[in-house]
Symmetry: C2
Subunit: 151 residues, 2 copies
C-alpha cells in the first residue's frame, strides 16, 4: 500500500531539526521506495561539513547509495527543491517528490511536474516555521546556500 506522504515527511522534518541542532541550515530530506521503505535520509551540511554540495536532497540521495533505477522512488523534502536538487530528481528519474512547504522558497517543482514527476505539496506549518525563523535569524547563511546575492 502506498504510504501517507505526511508520514514520510516526519523523517525529513526530523532531519531538518537535527540540522538546526547542529548549527546548520534546517532542511531535511529522505528517499523512499514506493512502499515507504527508507533508502536514505540526510540534511543540509553546508555549515557542519563546510560542504556547499550537500543540500538535504543530495545528502539523502548519497545516503541511499548506488541504485540502478529511481523511477519508483519518492524524494521527500521539507522545502521546495532548488534547481540543483530539482536537476538531481530529473536526471536520475526519481518518480515522485513530496514537499513540506514552498512558502519560504520555491525552486523547480513546477518544472519537475512538467517533466512527469508526481509532486505533492503539503504546505506543512512546522516546515514553514522552521525556515521562516531561520531566514530571519541567519539571512546571510540562507542566501549563501541558494547562491543568492542580496542587493
Amino acid at each position: 500500500m502506498a504510504p501517507d506522504p505526511t508520514d514520510l515527511l516526519e523523517i525529513a522534518l526530523a532531519e531538518a531539526r537535527t540540522g538546526l541542532d547542529e548549527g546548520g541550515i534546517p532542511i531535511g530530506a529522505a528517499l523512499f521506495t514506493a512502499d515507504g521503505t527508507l533508502l536514505g535520509r540526510g540534511h543540509n551540511r553546508r555549515v557542519q561539513d563546510d560542504d556547499p554540495s550537500m543540500h538535504a536532497e543530495t545528502a539523502a540521495f548519497r545516503a541511499a547509495g548506488r541504485q540502478r533505477d529511481y523511477r519508483s522512488t519518492v524524494m521527500v523534502t521539507t522545502l521546495s527543491p532548488c534547481w540543483y536538487c530539482s536537476g538531481l530528481v530529473r536526471q536520475f528519474g526519481i518518480g515522485a517528490v513530496v514537499i513540506g512547504e514552498a512558502r519560504t522558497f520555491s525552486g523547480g517543482h513546477d518544472w519537475l511536474a512538467e517533466h512527469g514527476v508526481t509532486i505533492t505539496l503539503l504546505d506543512d506549518e512546522r516546515c514553514a516555521a522552521l525556515m521562516t525563523d531561520f531566514i530571519a535569524a541567519r539571512p546571510e547563511l540562507w542566501y549563501e546556500d541558494i547562491g543568492g546575492v542580496p542587493a
Copy 2:
C-alpha cells in the same frame, strides 16, 4: 586577461584521466575565477567512493569550498553537464561553462544558455574519445551514472 578555455580544459581532462586510472567514470571538472585562478577540481567518484552524488562538477564545486558569489566563476567540464550538474550551475549562478564535448552525452547546456549562462563548447577529440571508449567498455556503469535504464 581572460584565460583560454582550452587551457582550462586541460585541468578537467587531467581529472578525467585520474578518474579512469582509479577505475572510475572518466569525467573531470574544475571551477575557476574569471581570471583563471583555480578554485577547485575533481572527478566523478561513483565507483571510488560508492557515491552517486559526486559527479565531476559537484566534486569540483565541493572542492572549491563555500563561496559567496559564483557569478564571475567558470565551470569547466570534460562532458556536457547532466541535469543534476546543470541545476547546480543555475542555482548558484555560475556565470560560464566550458564543455569538452557533447557528442557522447548532451545534458542541460542549452537550457543554461537560455538562462544567461555563457556556454563554450570545445568539441575536444580527446574528451570524446575518453567517453566513447568508456561507454563501449562499461555501458552498465555509464547508464547507472546518468540514471538511464537501458531497455
